[in-house]
Symmetry: C2
Subunit: 561 residues, 2 copies
């Protein structure tokens, strides 16, 4: 039995449970989401931190072909100090040549063997969860708990989800068939047919700055499962978590007897980015992109002959019609606006409030009062000395702070600033780049201002004549500018039912009345179809069959039996 | 129970059998492939012909929105006379507006309801099989028997195949789920989730001149099943079979209670073609194209934001290494070269013959003798007064005859013409435009000449030093110029095994040692993956999950349970 087949046996129960999970779509995970010492012991967190710190100021240990120098320009959003880690600088053509070569042996592995190896990668990466949490904090700026889960278990779950979807698509193709048909002669023709699943070819996975691994893992596993080698291009400000993942995948491949060059790193620096050079390589066949809508749309339109999957960004909305518990609802919204300085793709930006107020069991909350409640909730969260810095985390880039300032000035000129952004002081990291949301009241007619994504902690309150108008405006923006998450509060089932066709027509998934117990923008692997691919926030969903099936095709042989 | 649900019940056994067929991939069909009067009675063939003739010289009866005039310029390749039928000339924007409007009600139909209606369309179209055979003959130029099956049962089978693949992809998405997860609070969060399968939007299906319905049916059923309305754009020289199909689909939709504008015709004339105008409509979301490689590649590269599926054309090869029965093998190749004047996408063009000859149980057939055997076989087929015209059928376009002449002149200059193209006289249609293959011996180094598709009855014999060289050259051409079907003759298992990686790397499916009992280029629905999508002969396979899954996406709602 091959190493890979042994790994499949070892992970068979996990794979079967994952296949069941994507069918029932209930919560499930084989990974540990919490960094609690009760689960991991006291030693693991300490060791993870020490390992992260031991990497600072040194060349990253990664031996891969095509190295023509070094790069590395990461700066921690928490300490504002350079990490000082250098990575191999790679020749794009050499990376593709190594990829293509590595593909030959991997093509011959069965879907089950690939599943064994790729699942092993995920569990091997989980072992670095603490080290990776620090790496993610000090590059993306995420808080510790989010970094532990969002670059750890939650991201690994999405990798496993894409893996089993690929398994489904591969298993839909039988290995062989016997075909018997009578033509004109009395004796029927019998053919033996063999169906070979052939990968498209090398894939480039382009990662984003704020969630380095969350979309990277599913893109990597979707590609590897379907036989395609992967060249991972981290954002130049967030190389470390990606480099660690690449190294781990390479180690697992090597141990399983495959060419480690099935997974390669293509690092760069902000001043000299290589994404376009990679995509222009003639042998680039697949692109998985996470990042800005502008570059994502450019890639969608300028990579003919490549299979392109994008998740970019959208203009996410909250519409208030009525609420069972308005206080809890507004607190839930405020928390999602504050969390990780609204740098998540699911963070709400535009809150549509009826001028007639929000209906509650206790009576109508007037418009002004509702807007004030949102300000108060934002103040309470970012003013909480303990929770505030943990929730707000750090702002990844200086340009985001500049954007908050520019939007504030524009808000003063064109609307009314209901709340100014403030730093959220962090006792552990006094130098951290932090910001709580600016909240701007903006006229509904001024779509030029609020009607596109304003990245970072920039939020709007938009007074509307009615909640219906709010739905119309929110979904029109989703349709034309994209939306990844939409939120609606209403206790009126008729109102909800009437709103639904607008959300469907905009390709906008909607969370209704989430007011307690969970971050409203939490996306559950195996259960939530993340991004619809139906509006400009991306052309793909992670994960459905459309995300995996086109990555391989069938080449057949047939001959007389 | 809705009409659609009743239709599903009525067709349930057929659908289940089709789902089984695409799994086992053995031969199966619910349609009648043969026009024999023993199956259909004496009346049906006569009636079909009379119905076809009754349409000549009249406006085609099709009532659809957006009509701004009439078009119609079809000329029979058999009689060389204008059919004189006129069709609605449509305003593209009006077609898309009607499509979009029709989509709303269809979106609400369940996958089973859609399957009921779309299966009913296929059986309704089968009822026109005789009339359609004459319509196909007198537009595409196919022979009667091929027209009956290739625009009839064989095409309907492919429609049903795509239908059940779409059903699989739709059924992979559950309607709803219950999700329970504990976050920080002791009480777990419970969400109810609903998953709505949302179609991408209006699709344009562009049909080709020589097989008007063979790829059209699967594209139509794939789109309709996934909720997308279809605007069918026939080739201007072959409108009638497509118009008949559109009319039948509209009748079935109307009877089932749906908006008939889910299926619309967009006819044009050779001098004023509207394909690009259709694809440029802002609401065009999907393109299914069959036709020339040049236009197909243009569409692949110039339709950003549209989902594009193409089947174009390739440079199909035959490599001879050795043969159990060389005479039968060469006859099989000659027949495939002659059939329908090599206007099928699977027709062989380039025959690689080793200079050292072809090994057979009776000894080596020397190169010259092998080439002569091919000439003799071609002569025998096209010279057979009865079979010849039935097999060779008619040449669709004057430009194809011009191409045969141009290639012949070039062959005289650059190679050696082993056999000249001749008319294949047809007693039933003395005016028919016919041609048997020209066979040109061409130096292997002269790839400029033989190394691309030369449409129509143009074939090459290419002497090679060895069969290995033949495989290398054939697969190199497939990789760079595309191939839809490749053929290999060898009795040596080691040779076949060694050749396989080259075919896989070229994305070229290969038929091995087919020498009797069937046309070697027959493609069986439910069994053969037609076109790999891995070389320039097209980017899609008809049919796999990749052909259907991206045509819809999931929009979800979630709320506390």
């Amino acid at each position: 039995m091959s190493n890979a087949a042994q790994l499949y046996d070892q992970h068979r129960d996990t794979l079967e449970a994952a296949l069941k999970a994507v069918r029932t779509r209930d919560h499930w995970s084989p990974f540990r989401e919490s960094p609690s010492a009760r689960l991991h012991g006291e030693e693991a967190p300490r060791l993870g931190k020490a390992r992260y710190e031991a990497q600072l100021g040194k060349p990253f240990d990664l031996d891969q072909p095509g190295t023509i120098g070094t790069v590395g320009a990461e700066v921690s959003p928490y300490t504002r100090k350079a990490l000082g880690i250098t990575y191999p600088k790679s020749d794009p053509a050499a990376l593709f040549a190594a990829s293509r070569k590595a593909m030959a042996g991997w093509m011959k592995a069965s879907p089950a063997e690939r599943a064994g190896v790729v699942t092993e990668m995920l569990f091997a990466m989980e072992k670095n969860a603490f080290e990776n949490a620090h790496a993610t904090m000090h590059t993306a700026g995420q808080g510790y708990v989010m970094a532990f889960s969002g670059s750890g278990a939650n991201a690994l779950d999405r990798g496993l989800e894409a893996l089993v979807y690929a398994l489904k698509a591969l298993d839909d193709v039988p290995d062989s068939a016997r075909w018997t048909k009578r033509f004109l002669e009395p004796e029927p023709v019998r053919l033996e047919k063999r169906y070979v699943r052939v990968p498209l070819g090398p894939a480039v996975v382009v990662c984003c700055a704020t969630f380095p691994l969350w979309n990277a893992y599913p893109a990597m596993t979707a590609n590897l499962m379907t036989g395609n080698p992967v060249i991972v291009k981290p954002h130049p400000t967030g190389v470390l978590p990606v480099a660690m993942a690449v190294r781990t995948c390479r180690e697992v491949l090597e141990r399983a007897g495959y060419d480690p060059n099935l997974v390669l790193l293509a690092a760069d620096e902000p001043a000299d980015q290589i994404t376009i050079k990679l995509l222009e390589q003639p042998d680039c066949r697949i692109v998985d992109y996470t990042g800005s809508q502008r570059f994502g749309t450019w890639i969608e339109n300028n990579c003919p002959g490549r299979l392109v999957f994008t998740e970019t960004a959208g203009c996410n909305s909250v519409v208030f019609h009525s609420a069972k518990d308005f206080g809890k609802a507004i607190h839930t919204v405020a928390r999602a606006m504050t969390a990780f300085a609204a740098q998540m793709c699911t963070a709400p930006q535009n809150v549509y409030l009826p001028r007639t107020g929000v209906l509650t069991p206790e009576g109508v909350v007037p418009y002004e009062e509702a807007a004030e409640a949102l300000v108060a909730a934002l103040d309470a969260i970012s003013g909480d000395n303990k929770l505030g810095p943990a929730i707000a985390a750090a702002v990844q880039a200086d340009t985001t702070i500049a954007n908050v300032e520019a939007m504030t000035r524009r808000g003063e000129a064109e609307g009314r600033v209901l709340r100014y952004s403030t730093p959220v002081s962090n006792p552990d990291f006094p130098e951290a780049r932090t910001a709580s949301p600016v909240l701007i009241e903006c006229d509904a007619a001024n779509e030029d201002f609020y009607g596109e994504e304003r990245f970072g902690p920039v939020s709007f309150v938009i007074p509307v004549e009615s909640a219906q108008e709010g739905v119309k405006r929110a979904t029109a923006t989703a349709r034309t500018q994209g939306a990844i998450a939409s939120y609606l509060y209403s206790t009126d089932e008729d109102f909800i039912e009437a709103a639904e066709p607008d959300y469907l027509a905009a390709g906008a998934s909607v969370s209704i009345n989430i007011d307690r117990g969970m971050p409203m923008n939490f996306m559950g692997a195996y259960s939530d179809y993340h991004v619809t691919g139906l509006n400009p926030a991306g052309n793909a969903s992670l994960t459905d069959l459309a995300f995996v099936a086109p990555r391989f095709r069938v080449v057949q042989t047939r001959r007389p039996a």
